[in-house]
């Protein structure tokens, strides 16, 4: 049997690609190596009931996978560290049906126009492969609009003065402001910043048959028990309802098969442990920026850029203590952002000059708290003081924070490759992540960290502190060099030149034009925004081009089906 398309990965990118392809009449098989806790096992057009407000299950017992015993990653900061300095959980994007969309708190801002052209707008940075994307915001805007409508995004039109232009309004208005955010927003505004309601893929009103979010507080890193978070359950149930898709969970794709310069299908290990093949006319890879390059390397592909330019967001986290109870366990984890630190000003330009850099950029700042009680408990020392510390709760009820998702430049030495020794449960080499921040990230963090503290002091903080993820003084300290950020990008970068890029502007590999990457691996630069909406839009655009359709199902663009 030969299907029209195999999609590897059922997260936001894979579901977006499958949505376009099935709407265009294609037959699609979606392979997912993780378990299915998202869809009803008896009816894949309906969501399941497995998710819950359970911190042990989601944060401490790997319910969404990957289990670090079964599927470890390895990590090192540089080649001088040797094979690796850590084996286990490294940036654990969920390995489950729905992928990273399941555990995300659904913040889905669009990129800005200039984010696609850093090289021509700001210029190069020594040691980093800063480049323009091979497409512009205007190419992606129709697909941003499609993604927002399909997933269901709540936001406030006109609230962000730095936002890119939009062709239409947000599908839903914002949800309730978290109490702490009402205070940090007011403080930020008093200091001249421009906070705005975060575009969020969580229903603020009933939407497409799913209920409105009820602010339970178990948002980031949890599946939604009532499926008010739209990504990707909205797309996947729609895909399955077409009758043209099959979802194979707990099935690991181990190789992309090629023949005569084209992808011809995949080899996979099924639930029974047996290896089989499936032929397809197109192959879409959407396993994320760690597992997609890993699969390409396991397939024997040797383009020197595969795995290179690994980017996270360098997080600068300012925290403050307050006398009042912020009740951070109520609400959607983050209800407000501000983008002022992405847009340069004279102070940041001066900071760049002082650091010997041509420019520096920060990232969007999330106004947030720490909602979870076991996580809090682990931060206090055990013994007689522990019960009182939990009662006083300086690190949860009386804490508020600002987290900047700092732009991470594409350094060639930051990469994903195959670990020479460590294997997964099926016997395949695991992904090894080599990563450390560069001078730009450190300088940007050093510049913007105190400004975030300034906002917290303006709020009335009794104390403030700044930390980064990853930690930068980790040798001999308790800081971890492993990034906490679950925003992973850049490892199969797009571009016009086959010598310096792996895929083209539509995610199709230069070497195998019917092999399409539909996840954040293709990002050229990281920007200071979360990647989800952009990777969904790119995946939909890539699939639309392959299927010969436009951005919307009823688009007047050509619907002719191109020869496969």
């Amino acid at each position: 049997m030969t299907v029209d398309a195999v999609v590897v990965g059922s997260g936001p990118g894979g579901s977006a690609a499958a949505d376009v392809l099935t709407a265009a009449g294609w037959t699609v098989v979606i392979f997912e190596k993780g378990r299915d806790h998202l869809l009803d096992p008896d009816d894949h057009t309906r969501p399941a009931s497995d998710f819950s407000n359970d911190e042990i299950k989601f944060l401490h017992r790997h319910f969404l996978g990957p289990d670090p015993f079964l599927e470890p990653h390895t990590f090192r900061t540089c080649e001088e560290d040797g094979d690796h300095i850590h084996v286990g959980s490294v940036n654990a994007i969920p390995s489950t049906v729905g992928g990273g969309g399941v555990h995300a708190d659904g913040k889905v801002p669009r990129f800005r126009e200039e984010d696609f052209a850093l090289a021509s707008t700001l210029g190069p940075q020594e040691g980093a492969a800063v480049a323009d994307w091979p497409l512009g915001y205007e190419d992606l805007e129709p697909f941003y609009a499609r993604a927002e409508e399909s997933i269901g995004v709540a936001g406030l039109d006109g609230s962000n003065p730095f936002a890119a232009k939009r062709s239409g309004p947000f599908p839903m208005p914002p949800g309730a402001d978290m109490y702490g955010a009402t205070l940090s927003v007011a403080a930020a505004e008093r200091l001249g910043y421009h906070p705005y309601p975060a575009p969020t893929a969580a229903n603020s009103v009933p939407y497409q048959g799913r209920p409105a979010c009820n602010n339970c507080g178990f948002c980031a890193f949890f599946g939604c028990p009532i499926h008010a978070k739209g990504d990707p359950v909205a797309l996947l149930t729609r895909v399955m309802a077409t009758g043209r898709a099959e979802l194979r969970a707990e099935t690991f794709v181990s190789k992309v098969l090629t023949s005569s310069g084209r992808a011809s299908g995949v080899e996979y290990v099924g639930q029974d442990g047996k290896t089989r093949t499936m032929s397809s006319r197109h192959v879409f890879l959407a396993g994320g920026a760690v597992e997609t390059p890993r699969l390409l390397l396991l397939s024997g592909m040797t383009h020197p850029m595969i795995g290179r330019h690994l980017m996270f967001h360098f997080q600068t986290i300012a925290a403050g203590g307050f006398e009042i109870d912020m009740h951070p366990d109520r609400g959607r984890s983050v209800t407000h952002l501000h983008d002022d630190h992405i847009v340069g000003d004279e102070e940041s330009r001066q900071a760049a000059r002082e650091a010997g850099l041509p420019w520096l950029r920060g990232g969007t700042v999330e106004h947030t708290g720490q909602a979870h009680v076991i996580m809090e408990a682990r931060h206090y020392g055990w013994g007689s003081a522990h019960p009182q510390a939990m009662r006083d709760s300086p690190l949860r009820r009386h804490l508020w924070a600002l987290c900047m998702q700092g732009e991470d430049l594409p350094y060639p030495g930051n990469r994903v490759d195959l670990d020479p020794r460590v294997r997964d449960v099926r016997g395949f080499p695991v992904a090894r992540l080599t990563y450390r921040p560069g001078p730009h990230e450190l300088a940007a963090s050093a510049h913007f960290g105190p400004r975030l503290e300034g906002i917290l002091r303006q709020m009335g903080a009794q104390w403030t502190s700044v930390a980064t993820s990853p930690g930068v003084d980790y040798r001999g300290s308790s800081q971890s060099p492993i990034p906490d950020s679950h925003h992973v990008m850049g490892t199969v970068r797009m571009g016009r030149d086959p010598a310096t890029s792996v895929v083209d502007a539509y995610g199709a590999m230069h070497e195998f034009p019917n092999l399409v990457v539909a996840d954040s691996s293709v990002f050229v630069t990281s920007t200071g925004y979360g990647p989800t909406l952009t990777l969904v839009a790119l995946a939909a655009r890539a699939a639309a081009r392959v299927a010969g359709v436009g951005a919307q199902p009823d688009d007047v663009f050509t619907r002719e089906t191109k020869a496969h």
Binding site: R35, S49, D50, F51, S52, N53, D54, E55, I56, K57, H60, R61, H62, F63, D67, F69, L70, P72, V87, G175, A176, D177, M178, Y179, T182, C213, N214, N215, C216, G217, F218, P225, I226, E250, Q271, I324, D325, D329, R330, G331, V373, I374, E376, A377, R378, W382, G383, S384, H386, P387, Q388, M390, R391, S393, R397, V422, R423, D424, V425, G427
Partner: protein, 191 residues
């Protein structure tokens, strides 16, 4: 169905563990403490998770019944074959089995607790408050493991065996799971 405690540990080991947890999370005027909250039961329940069918690894969903909806937390999820491999290895160790040693031997939680509790000594409960602290601190890896699991036992969902009657949550000023009730907009946005 298995009933009664301890499930996995011996009576002597369980007694030592109860004292270690109590030393880490003592009772105060505002907190019942680890012993009253059943923290040792939580840990013993984890070690003996596979004495139950389905194993007590992941509580069910979507609701507990504490704030509406049917009580489904107590119906634990079934594990897939690979999940079972992972959790049996994590708890039992690799035991020389090739399918568990694809990256080398693994010492499981059961052995780590047995050996750690043995190092504390069967007379640990009779030691002074200060001596208990010294013995725990002398074994930092074991101490850290007990502390981390102890936090779960103090403040995790009661269906896992600890946080009896949600007493840990009450002491911490924490509501716990709230679905399907959730929080109203005013409860979210106002002081």
């Amino acid at each position: 169905m298995v009933t009664g405690v301890p499930i996995f540990l011996t009576d002597s080991e369980y007694r030592v563990l109860r004292c270690a947890c109590d030393r880490m999370f003592p009772a105060t005027a505002h907190n019942p403490g680890a012993d009253a909250l059943g923290v040792a039961d939580y840990i013993d329940g984890l070690l003996g998770a596979f004495h139950f069918d389905p194993p007590r690894i992941w509580a069910g969903g979507p609701y507990s019944g504490r704030h509406g909806g049917a009580d489904r937390f107590a119906t634990f999820h079934r594990l897939g074959p690979l999940d079972e491999l992972a959790w049996r290895t994590r708890l039992e160790g690799s035991c020389g089995m090739p399918e568990r040693e694809f990256n080398g031997p693994v010492v499981g939680y059961q052995e780590r607790y047995r050996s750690g509790l043995a190092r504390l000594g069967e007379h640990f409960p009779e030691a002074s408050w200060e001596e208990k602290r010294l013995r725990l601190e002398a074994d930092p890896d074991f101490c850290e493991m007990v502390f981390h699991h102890g936090c779960e036992g103090m403040y995790g969902a009661p269906e896992y065996g600890g946080n009896r009657n949600c007493g840990g949550w009450e002491a911490a000023g924490y509501t716990g799971d709230v679905q399907p009730r959730g929080w109203s907009d005013s409860e979210v946005s106002l002081p």
